[in-house]
Symmetry: C2
Subunit: 263 residues, 2 copies
DNA sequence: TCGGGTTATCGTCAAATTGACGATAACCGG
DNA sequence: CCGGTTATCGTCAATTTGACGATAACCCGA
């Protein structure tokens, strides 16, 4: 089997104990966005075995000379045509962070494979015309989630969604789902979509605009729909949305069972 | 992309691209405990190159047929003599969770190596007599942290400490630092040590005992020192400390800079 | 046995925050 | 101009926080 070939280190590496395994490593990306008021995840249809024809998270093998982040960006681009801006891990609207690593055993029929999962939060946008070799990349709502995904991707997706739900409570990362300038209502729509709950518009407005280090008014107005035009905001300048902490946090209300979410 | 181009080198399997790297994988464990009111981390002195003689987090290579958790427990035991109870990931006082994975490039002079870091929270205890092949395993206070650690272990340690600090706000995991039955004062000592701040004893008592799903009185009293004996508590039954969420959380006060902690 | 030292626990109270919801402002389309 | 719609501002009671006083219940040494 494939695993046998990988069970030994290369002869050049004499300083690594030869009982140590060497593993193929993949990255898988949980790309989330909010479209039409619902949380969506990006999936591709697999063209090859294993799990041929089944939907899966975009991802693939890490090359020998790239970082995990580079691999995540490359695979995403190859399979979905999405180009993650370089500033995704920084101040921009996009946000890419490591989710967790899924163990080598029992998750790939080809043998032991390690998978490092990444979480991408991005504003809604259309997909470029099915670029690369991916048969089909599409956004699907995370609820309903019809058929199961390939590999252990259902578990990875669940972990990613739970991470996103928790993270927007304590960090300004909900803004990663919005364009660079957005209204308070758009931001509230993100919370409602990610949490799957209703949020009172008036209290949310007070809380969001009143939390230091979160929003910064641009002075401009966002027009368009019916009703009074809303003020446009951007993320507070000088704030790293990946590291900043909201004080006090925007807590989900104590609705149903708040115990053991991802157990 | 899981299987685009096909291997020329691996005759047994043709579904893994030969550009895909295969990486040696290590686990490193950030084992934290509270002793004498200060947060301590477990380190070992390296006997071999690279970084020979320097302190490092316990860890080592993952074998071909074990899970990451198994590797973490095995390395910890081999290098420090500590045996992680099987229930560490469950209801017991110990707590072992994955921290994050550190990329293959530029972190090991021997070449690309992936490291999956784990975070262990444990009650204070003495080390078994330097078992295994470890020259020396010892607890060192995380502040002062005299010389730098080997590899990128300073970064891993910083990430682990920050994870612990954040996690005890929203989960009952502070109890992982305590024996199975503990007093409110002991628990408060954990918060003070991990956060490095002072916590008002009266408000903490009110909050800790008043938060549903956190503490459960045993009826027994903890004697010993001077002063009035304190009631003994245990974690609320039926609560998985790794998954449960405290509502409302025990927030650190807004003291100094609460922005970009581990950046 | 008594008093002083020490720690645990319970109360009190003003300030801040939350949650629910009314009221008004500012736009749209007819 | 008028209703429909959404944004924003206020109000108010209930809850929570933070600061800190007051007791309770143990230890020890005299």
């Amino acid at each position: 089997m494939y695993g046998r070939c990988m069970a030994r280190t290369s002869p050049a590496r004499t300083d690594v104990p030869d009982t140590a395994g060497s593993f193929p490593v993949t990255v898988d990306v949980v790309a989330l966005t909010v479209r039409a008021g619902a949380l969506h995840v990006l999936v591709v249809d697999r063209l090859l075995e294993p799990f041929r024809g089944q939907a899966a998270l975009p991802g693939g093998f890490v090359l020998a000379d790239e970082t995990l982040e580079q691999a995540a960006g490359r695979e995403l681009e190859e399979e979905t045509g999405l180009t993650v801006p370089a500033q995704a891990a920084g101040a921009g609207p996009w946000h890419l962070e490591q989710l967790r690593t899924y163990g080598p055993l029992g998750r790939d029929p080809r043998g032991p494979v390690l998978s490092v999962a990444y979480l991408l939060l991005a504003p809604a946008f259309g997909l470029p015309a099915a670029g690369g070799d991916a048969a089909e990349a599409r956004w699907v709502p995370v609820i309903e989630e019809g058929k199961p995904l390939a590999f252990d991707h259902d578990q990875i997706l669940a972990d990613g969604v739970e991470r996103a739900r928790a993270k927007i409570e304590y960090s300004p990362l909900a803004a990663a789902f919005c364009p660079p300038e957005f209204t308070v209502a758009e931001l509230r729509g993100v919370y409602e979509a990610v949490w799957g709950t209703q949020v009172d518009a008036r209290n949310f407005h007070r809380k969001a605009t009143g939390t230091p280090g979160f929003l910064e008014p641009t002075g401009r107005l966002g027009g368009g729909g019916p009703g009074r035009p809303a003020e446009l905001y951007r993320l507070a300048s000088g704030v790293d949305p990946a590291a900043a902490v909201l004080h006090p946090p925007l807590l989900r209300s104590v609705s149903p069972g708040r115990v053991a979410p991802s157990a």
